[in-house]
Symmetry: C2
Subunit: 335 residues, 2 copies
């Protein structure tokens, strides 16, 4: 697989991207093409002793920053490290694209450079998140603040394909609708109508799931409009960070708690690992013609490596083609 990676996206660019690329080459044998300033990339690699074996560079000097308008990816910054990567992908020069840069820009670029799959109303941001029992896929998590019921059905279909094929090795997955209660009549018009569409669909729909149950693994795929999906995702992150910060402070109270902390610390690692979202490679943009993965803005070396691994797996499983096939069948069948 040939994966394009934006070397200048995210808080830890370009080092984390270069290291993650090197690790992915060494571990999985993929070809990685780093997009960005060639001189800066080579200098950074050399300075940090990262091998550039198996890594190609697609040179461009421009960078799209977090302060740039998302739509600038189509014009002023079309030749940014993100822009050239997306163009190369669209032109068939690679199998997938990974960036930790601006979410708005990569969504805009994926939609208008890589382009939507026929039949898809709106591409969705999906994210594989940790839960108490198993990882789950949440979508949409912010691409579409306002949704129609049919969009939620499409999100469910795209999400179920991704989750089943990329994360669950072909297993059937459960789909739940995020709602403010489990009863069928709960929520607003959007949820009530989406409920009926999901219930009548071919999906393994288990009904409404409450936000309270989502961190416990209520469903393999949790479907929501982009606004409440975003609230769910960010609240999980914020609450976990806030609690862990406070627990760390408890460990620092006095000598006894410091000793207590030292005794427990080695075993907190496995919990931290279980709760880490980066193991699952970040957020795929589903509904566009090629695999595009958005890594977290604070992605480190491991997160980049995992994002590249998952991007290759999604491309290998040909998720975009499967989504296209599903959309074609469903649109016909339902028309």
């Amino acid at each position: 697989m040939r994966i394009f990676v934006d070397a200048f996206g995210g808080d830890n660019a370009p080092l984390a991207a270069i290291q993650g690329a090197a690790d992915a080459v060494a571990k999985f044998g993929h070809t990685v093409v780093l997009c960005g300033d060639e001189q800066a990339i080579r200098a950074c690699a050399e300075e940090n002793g990262v091998s550039m074996n198996g890594i190609e560079i697609c040179h461009t000097a421009d960078v799209l920053t977090m302060d740039d308008e998302p739509k600038s990816i189509l014009k002023e910054h079309k030749n940014s490290s993100m822009g050239v990567g997306l163009q190369a992908l669209a032109a068939g020069e690679g199998d997938a694209f990974v960036t930790a840069g601006s979410s708005g820009a990569v969504l805009m670029g994926a939609t208008f450079i890589v382009k939507r799959i026929a039949g898809v109303s709106r591409p969705a941001f999906a994210s594989v998140l940790p839960s108490d029992t198993k990882p789950f896929l949440l979508l949409d998590m912010g691409a579409n603040a306002e949704c129609r019921p049919e969009m939620l059905l499409q999100f469910a279909r795209m999400g179920a394909l991704y989750m089943s094929q990329v994360i669950k090795q072909g297993e059937t997955v459960t789909v739940g609708l995020l709602n403010n209660g489990v009863e069928e009549h709960k929520g607003g018009e959007l949820q009530q109508q989406a409920y009926q569409l999901l219930k009548e669909s071919e999906l393994n729909f288990i009904g409404n799931v409450e936000a309270r149950q989502v961190p416990f693994g209520a469903a393999d795929v949790v479907v929501a409009d982009g606004f409440s999906g975003n609230v769910l995702l960010k609240t999980m992150e914020g609450t976990a960070d806030m609690l862990l910060k406070n627990i760390k402070q408890v460990f620092k109270t006095n000598l006894l708690t410091i000793i207590g902390g030292l005794l427990v610390k080695p075993y907190l690692g496995s919990l931290k690992k279980k709760m880490s979202a980066s193991a699952h490679g970040g957020a795929p943009i589903l509904g566009v013609r090629k695999t595009v993965i958005k890594a977290h803005g604070n992605a480190d070396r491991v997160a980049f490596m995992n994002a590249i691994r998952v991007a290759a797996e999604a491309a290998e499983a040909d998720i975009p083609a499967r989504i296209a096939a599903a959309m074609a069948t469903k649109t016909e069948g339902e028309a």
Copy 2:
């Protein structure tokens, strides 16, 4: 103050309600009227050695359960322990009403028995929640799944009054709008229009707040539609419960972690206290003519006592009359 309490609402009824009532009488000198089956209440009090001094009983045999339709509070179950309490409140026999029973039913009853304040479009469920730095008020947290921008402005005004007068002893409070980004143009139409209304209002509006920052205390009052407010609240609860469950398991790994846990445990209490929502007395229904407080379904003795305390404080501060005055001024001013 004379507070009516539904003795048969919640998972721990009637004992927790009776204990909480006795504690509130002893500690704050309020008169508490327990609504429910007199014989059952007296038997439960005697069996558990709870003093009934200063506690009156408003007898009724019927109970509205979690399985009953919310609207049954107006008809089949109008003589339930919840129904008679709300009727007594509406008739001016008391200053406030507290229940840990069905949210839907108490909202319905508050709206149609106690009745809306003139000028209020829709009453809102508010809740005082813990954050890293200070408690904050979230509303609406589920009464109105679908909202118009003007409703969010009303929620903000009602919430700011409650937070300032009941929780913050008259301090000015900050108001934030829950959104999927901090920029002014973020969110859907609802958030964009509500932003403008809030910006032009007399409130101390600090702009959009992201769900990520809410657990860190982003604003004193966080305004949201009932659907995303509910997602925020439930995700905070679910994520915290899930993490604490996992951390408890880490403490049980082996002898060293058990010892570590014992050393740390005494100091986790203060964190638990900080994170406890029950200290702030549960969820007021704002926008109705008298003070109605919904305690958490799993409210224990302490939670009931605090709910009664806060109900009395809100009644003392005459929050409903202040809201009525604010609505009258604003409606005139804006017409």
